[in-house]
Amino acid sequence: MRPYRPKDNVQKKSYYTDRFWVAPRIPEEPVEDEIFKADLRTLKKEIKVKKAYIQRGQLVIIIDAKDNVKALQVLKEKCGYDILSEMSAIDYLAQDGEFEIFYQLLAMSKRKRVRVKCRIKEDEAIESVEPLFRSADWSEREMYDMFGIKVNNHPYLKRILMPEDWVGYPLRKTYPLHGDEAAQWYEVDKIFGKEYREIIGPEQRDAAYISTTDTCNFARIYHEVPRCADPNSEPEKIESFNEDAPLVETFDLKKSKIVDKTR
């Protein structure tokens, strides 16, 4: 029987995990740092903070998705987090049917980094933070490109890394590493048209694959044909080897030497 593979997460999995294995967790420390504490207090006055903790030296704030612009505005204008160094999403569709969106902020004057996180459902859209941070322009486009998360009020929400007519969202867990069917035929469909799929055939992606019909690059042992010949032609007959020929032609006892047995 073929082992069951979940369809909602087709990424590579560990092939063996101990039954009693419990993964350790990075501790979520309480916010005791003075600067972070003050920032958190300022933020709590304006919006609802679901949870806040410090992980590996950075403050993590979990908020509602509808508060994202407000939260970033407070952090930027009142707390001095003036750079949005990174933002993207994490796919939790398989577990909770949600995306987690994170905003990684830096306050250069305080040398502090904060990560603001929020969750949205699969069919929800998030409000753009591009008016606050220009750098979100491209990050949000990348997020849309890779996860298909719609961003409201974005100036130019188009795919950025993948071609515009691409089908599917590559960083979702349901998207296989080697691409789906549309990805497999993308170039053929685009250059020649769908009717050429059968003529051209699927792309060979296995680096170790050896074609039996390819006589130009591979020799077929025991079925050798001249180079680049028709693979169905008769194999070459090797004339030089005669099976009836004796292996030892003559044996002359006088010329041979008997080795001393007691050696």
Partner: protein
């Protein structure tokens, strides 16, 4: 845009729009000064740019996706292919992110730290020399290109002597470095460090006061500080706008808090100011490397962190002790299992802030790996930076942003 029709001739690079007087020029993706595969769609009024739309993705290989399907050690050589001009900076950024995720950052032996810093600074010099060479060539100074590549060759020889590769180094491992410095390497490094300052002086003699160079660079590509912050610029793009922020200094990692070096900044905000910073940064790298040589000599010969849960034991233990061998086998075939959690680790690569965001679910495969490559935003800024400039300045501006497409498209 023109529709493609197989029977009609199709002019790929030029579109004339009759209503207004603007012309759309397609700059790249195969343009020699596009530093890779950058396509710029420029809307022009005569020679002046009205609107610029950078189009990227021609080198997209899905590294983040690959990262989710590889164990941590497997992914490390893949990071070489991001910023291929300074591969060790990527290796190091990834290794540091995983170390911080595992919580073994403090366990990395001192000698490994010194070697890593040497490689990082050497890579910074290699990258800056490469930048100067190609930038000068784009602007029209052919001889600088040849001189820079000569010195870069010596630096690459040093890298080759250490790790055997010239471009894709993979010379850093999670938890330390794989090899000690070979015999005579420090002498060769010293020779190179003695040679480089006079060569930098030579480049500066050719460029700094050169009338054409100054006319092409001064007041071209002016990034006001506010714009630099808005676009999350980092590295020299940020310091060229008068904002002093270097991650090596502000959030020190490795032994950067023990060495003495300066962060050059410039408030000229233009390409010329950035050029001056690159030259000064090379000098500072030399200064750091000079201090590292005596530091190396005071260290113990240990190279990899001792964390048997995550890092294989040294070769000698693997060959003599059964348990080390078993652990090594599990780590190689299944991979290490970091704790559940997430971490974002920024480092100062030659291009700017190179960060790795890793979300781990306790599996040997990262659940999400996001690479924050500085060039991505340094390309995005082109759409705000280019309008108002002339077509000839586009090449200068692309050159001075120092973008590498391996890390933009990832």
């Amino acid at each position: 845009m023109q529709q493609r029709n197989r029977l009609e001739p199709y002019f790929e690079n030029l579109v004339f729009e009759r209503e207004d007087n603007t012309m759309v020029v397609n700059f790249g993706p195969q343009h020699p000064s596009a530093h890779g595969q950058l396509r710029l769609i420029l809307e022009m009024d005569g020679e002046q740019i009205k609107k610029a739309v950078p189009d990227i993705g021609y080198l997209h290989r899905g590294m983040e996706k690959m990262g989710e399907n590889m164990i941590y050690n497997e992914f490390l050589p893949t990071t070489d292919r991001m910023d291929y001009i300074a591969a060790t900076a990527n290796n190091y950024a990834f290794a540091l992110a995983v170390e911080r995720l595992l919580g073994i950052e403090e366990k990395v032996p001192r000698r490994a730290k010194v070697i890593r810093m040497m490689l990082l600074e050497l890579n910074r010099i290699i990258s800056h020399l490469f930048w100067l060479a190609t930038h000068a060539l784009d602007v029209g100074a052919m001889s600088v290109f040849l001189y820079c590549f000569r010195e870069r060759e010596y630096a690459m020889d040093l890298m080759e002597e250490y790790c055997g590769a010239r471009l894709t180094h993979s010379s850093v491992r999670i938890g330390g470095v794989p090899l000690d410095l070979p015999e005579g390497w420090l002498e060769h490094l010293n020779w190179f460090l003695n040679k480089l300052p006079e060569q930098i002086k030579l480049y500066e003699g050719l460029l700094t006061e050169n009338r054409i160079w100054r006319m092409r660079l001064e007041e071209v590509g002016v990034i006001p500080p506010e714009m630099a912050k808005q676009w999350a610029c980092s590295g020299i793009m940020l310091r060229g706008s008068g904002i002093e922020y270097d991650i090596r200094k502000e959030e020190p990692y490795e032994l950067y808090d023990e060495v003495d070096f300066d962060i050059p900044i410039s408030d000229r905000c233009d390409s010329y100011g950035r050029y001056l910073l690159y030259m000064e940064e090379m000098r500072q790298s030399i200064k750091i490397l000079r201090q590292l040589i005596p530091m190396y000599k005071d260290t113990e010969p240990e190279l990899m962190a001792h964390a048997p849960e995550y890092i294989s034991a040294p070769k000698e233990d693997i060959m003599t002790q059964n348990y080390s061998l078993m652990q090594h086998f599990v780590l190689v075939t299944q991979g290490m299992r970091p704790p559940v959690g997430e971490v974002y680790v920024p480092t100062e690569s030659p291009k700017g802030e190179l960060g790795f965001f890793i979300r781990s679910e306790g599996e040997p495969y990262p659940y999400r790996l996001k690479i924050r490559a500085p060039s991505f935003w340094h390309t995005g800024i082109l759409q705000d930076l280019l309008p108002g400039h002339y077509l000839a300045d586009v090449v200068t501006i692309i050159g001075s942003t120092n973008i590498v497409f391996g890390e933009i498209d990832r």
